[in-house]
Symmetry: C2
Subunit: 128 residues, 2 copies
Amino acid sequence: MKASAKTPNAYSAQCPTRQILDRVGDKWAVLILLLIRHEPMRFNALRRTIEGISQKMLSQVLKSLERDGLIKRRAIATVPVTVEYSITPLGATLADAVDPLRDWAEKNLKEVLNAQRRYDAARKDMAA
Amino acid sequence: MKASAKTPNAYSAQCPTRQILDRVGDKWAVLILLLIRHEPMRFNALRRTIEGISQKMLSQVLKSLERDGLIKRRAIATVPVTVEYSITPLGATLADAVDPLRDWAEKNLKEVLNAQRRYDAARKDMAA
DNA sequence: CTGGATCCACACGGATACTG
DNA sequence: CAGTATCCGTGTGGATCCAG
């Protein structure tokens, strides 16, 4: 994909923050991370708990998290096969780094929603 | 969009964290936030600095950040119009909450990349 | 200079069916 | 149970042209 040739160069592209932000921004990745943060979970358990996720996405995200060394996959050769996903030490530190964001979200979401309403109201006035 | 009817209900949907995570995960939002964190910037300045972004995306993200009350738009009626974007107090606190993530990224990106290489190597062996 | 509007390609992601 | 493979609709985002 010639990522080195014409990449934007700037402030943005290969910046570590950006890459991690992309991971964190993933619709499901962090959610999964937080779910298995304290106890391992099986594939369908995750599927059921999250519920909004398709099995395609789940398996895809799990694979990419495993690839990043953030979670660990452990297949147990039982009769109908059991697979257990658990967080790695590395993944745990990432989960920790996400915590401030959760705090911020819980504290400030209301204010964000207010801002949105104000903004929308102002725009509506323009229209009228 | 009947968001309340059949929404996944679970752990995921209307959770504040999720909503903020989506914002943070936005490819450009946080980047912009960090860029104007200490000094206001004009539209084209941002455009040039980020460089990978299209004008459509930039204007779109700026609008959504403004709507969320995270940045402030200030139009100055000069000859060819000048617009200055600056961070709000609310936006500043979000930027602060993102810092741990930046730290984590800078500290651990290498390890993540290593994990990726190991993973890929292992898979390649499977193929061969 | 700062965008809005439009057109369009392509990747993302859901639904479904099938396998080990 | 834990996935993979396929088909396919849709949203996302780039390119371009135009306007205040």
